[in-house]
């Protein structure tokens, strides 16, 4: 699943743009794809809460289905429908609920194409919203993408800008295989310029350099992009230039984009909100140590949530995830 294309920055997309939030871009992507392809249906609990209200108005109840609280099975209903001619978007809503659906996603969706020798296709999207902060407590605050990275047969995206989520959600819906979309809900209110072109697609498996720099490469995953950009802005006054890479797709990871960056900087930090053990940073660090060791001037650092559950109390939650200051500290250690 190596991505051979070495272009790591999108050319400025020509054509008109519109300002919208990350959340509005998710809805817009689904709206356009449902207009484009009548096989696309939306299924989920309380779908109107997570952006489905507008879609029900547009497409009616035969395209937008409210699900009973049966994650372990409605996920499989989506998979069965995908095998039999539909292209479902299954809204898992809170990402922590995906554990209830693991058998269907792991044992069925990820495996059936392979196990049937390619007799069936499973074009399906699973939307998972990561509500990590705001005193949700541990059972509603998980960021479970690392678990699924260890499962062959799944594609996983977690973009950070409005334009990227629109383009990647559309690619996910058009893709012929199961795709998990992990949205960090702290990104939902962020505004950005989004192309209005209904064929604006961001390819799955391609990273983007969100900020160019010289001294250190910081790979920021999902919601970690916000404190990472704040840290980069803070350090510029000290003459420290930080390159920020957003992989956008977690699987397949765009290792080439990261290698190109550390070829320049020789220093690598990975920042994410997943727990520390076997997270995406572990994988990036391992591959860079295996394949690009000679490019590194300093050890690779990882910042993440600790191997402790997300606490309820604001006092405990405040510094649970990487902050601007912890990222600044890590960058200084490397220089």
């Amino acid at each position: 699943m190596d991505v051979k294309d070495d272009t790591h920055r999108d050319a400025a997309t020509p054509g008109p743009h519109i300002q919208m939030t990350y959340f509005e871009a998710i809805v817009q992507a689904q709206l356009e794809e449902m207009h484009r392809d009548e096989r696309v249906v939306l299924m989920g609990e309380d779908v109107s809460v997570h952006g489905g209200g507008k879609l029900i108005e547009c497409f009616g109840k035969n395209r937008v289905w409210n699900m009973p609280i049966s994650e372990g099975s409605f996920t499989g209903v989506g998979i069965g429908a995908a095998i039999n001619g539909l292209r479902p978007i299954v809204d898992i809503s809170t990402a922590s609920f995906i554990y209830l659906a693991c058998d269907q996603i792991v044992n069925q969706a990820s495996k059936l194409r392979y196990m049937t020798g390619g007799q069936i296709d499973i074009p399906i999207v699973f939307r998972c919203c990561m509500f990590s902060t705001g005193s949700e407590a541990a059972q509603h605050a998980d960021r479970p993408y690392p678990l699924f990275m260890n499962v062959p047969g799944l594609k996983i995206v977690s973009p950070t800008s409005a334009a990227d989520i629109k383009g990647l959600m559309k690619s996910a819906i058009r893709d012929g295989d199961p795709v998990l979309v992990f949205e960090d809900t702290r990104l939902w209110p962020l505004k950005g310029d989004v192309p209005t072109d209904p064929d604006h697609l961001i390819p799955i498996g391609k990273a983007d350099v969100k900020r160019e720099g010289e001294h250190v490469t910081v790979v920021a995953i999902a919601g970690a992009i916000r404190p990472t950009m704040e840290a980069a802005n803070y350090l510029i006054e000290e003459g420290i230039s930080v390159e920020v890479i957003d992989p956008r797709t977690l699987k397949p990871l765009d290792y080439e984009a990261i290698k190109m960056s550390i070829e320049k900087t020789g220093r690598l930090i990975i920042v994410e909100n997943g727990h520390r053990i076997c997270n995406v940073g572990s994988e990036i660090a391992a591959v860079m140590a295996e394949e690009s060791f000679d490019l590194l001037k300093r050890p690779i650092l990882r910042l993440s949530a600790p191997d402790i559950h997300v606490p309820f109390s604001p006092a405990l939650e405040k510094d649970f995830f990487p902050t601007r200051d912890s990222i600044v500290g890590a960058i200084r250690r490397l220089l």
């Binding site: 009973p68 099975s73 499989g76 044992n107 069925q108 194409r113 392979y114 020798g117 047969g153 012929g176």
Partner: protein, 327 residues
């Protein structure tokens, strides 16, 4: 809605195709030519064939880890199935599935789930798709008595009832989930009664009587196609072989030898139906001819499978994805 004319002979033929395929497979498995685990359908042919014959060719089906009988009952060719058992390139799943996963899409099977109860949501979704797309396709969902205790059974029946999906839930109740009996694992051993909790019809049928199963399934298929929703059919049947071939169960036997032998003697769906056909005036010669043809087809399947090459190592990643990255 009864099995009539040549359909009766087809029922006999398909049951026999399963039986002979399984017997030959068991021989090859014991001879070391089939890897993995081997779960035969011997004894359960009446339930499987009776239900499958009620379907149209374009109807869909899902099955279980005891998967060999389902595609054969739906009319699949035997060669690619036998090759799959041996892990060959010419296998129906290209050697990626094996004994527990005999999905053959050429006859409308979307999956055979090795995870007990795992296929029930898929069948429900398959029927959901037919409803959304406005086509009159029906899905037949096979599972065993053990799967009835999985949450997927209950969640799926609820959704199928709620949306009146065109799906038939067919429980092959052979009395034992591996070694655990219905009596020791079901709070309500009358599985058909569970349908009432979801507001759908539930009925019990003699799974060793292929024409009774057909009649029951044909009625359910008609209801489903007419938009009247799902049905739960519990076909009481019996597994003649051990859970899987070669399984040694230590300690107190979970079923007595006399019980197994009595079923083989008195409750063999093929012997029972052979007698019925003769009583209905079918010639002995007609049945012998079918028996000969089936034996020949199984022999050819074995020859095909033995001649088929093993998958080449460089094909390991084949069939993982439709596309590695989006178009």
């Amino acid at each position: 809605m009864q099995l009539k004319g040549d359909r009766r002979l087809e029922a006999f033929r398909r049951m026999l195709r399963i039986r002979r395929f399984e017997e030959e497979g068991r021989r090859l498995f014991n001879g070391g030519q089939i890897p993995g685990w081997f779960h035969t359908t011997v004894g359960q042919e009446g339930a499987i064939v009776g239900a499958s014959l009620a379907l149209r060719d374009d109807d869909a089906m899902t099955g279980t880890h005891r998967s060999h009988g389902h595609p054969i009952a739906k009319g699949a060719h035997l060669q690619a199935l036998m090759a799959e058992l041996m892990g060959k390139e010419g296998g129906v799943c290209k050697g990626r599935g094996g004994s527990m996963h005999f999905a053959d899409s050429s006859v409308g099977i979307i999956s055979e789930s090795g995870i007990v109860g795992g296929g029930i949501p898929l069948a429900t979704g398959c029927a959901f798709s037919a409803k959304v797309r406005g086509v009159d396709q029906v899905t037949l969902c096979f599972f065993g008595d053990g799967a009835v205790n999985q949450g997927t059974f209950h969640e799926s029946l609820n959704m199928a009832s709620l949306w009146r999906l065109p799906v038939i839930y067919l429980c092959e109740n052979n009395g034992y989930a591996m070694t655990t009996s219905v009596a020791t694992s079901h709070g309500q051993p009358d599985i058909a009664l569970r349908a009432a909790g979801y507001g759908i019809p539930g009925e019990i049928v003699d799974g060793q009587d292929v024409s009774a199963v057909y009649q029951s399934a044909a009625y359910a298929v008609t209801r489903a196609r007419a938009g009247q929703g799902p049905t739960l059919i519990v076909a009481n049947t019996y597994r003649f072989d051990e859970h899987n071939i070669g399984l040694a169960v230590s300690g107190e036997p979970y079923r007595q030898v006399e019980e197994v032998e009595a079923h083989k003697r008195d409750r063999d769906p093929i012997l029972l139906y052979r007698t019925v056909l003769l009583e209905e005036g079918v010639n002995e010669e007609t049945l012998t001819t079918i028996e000969h043809e089936v034996a020949q087809a199984v022999t050819q399947a074995v020859q095909f499978a033995l001649a088929s090459p093993m998958p080449r190592p460089e094909t390991l990643p084949d069939y993982m994805f439709v596309s590695t990255i989006a178009h």
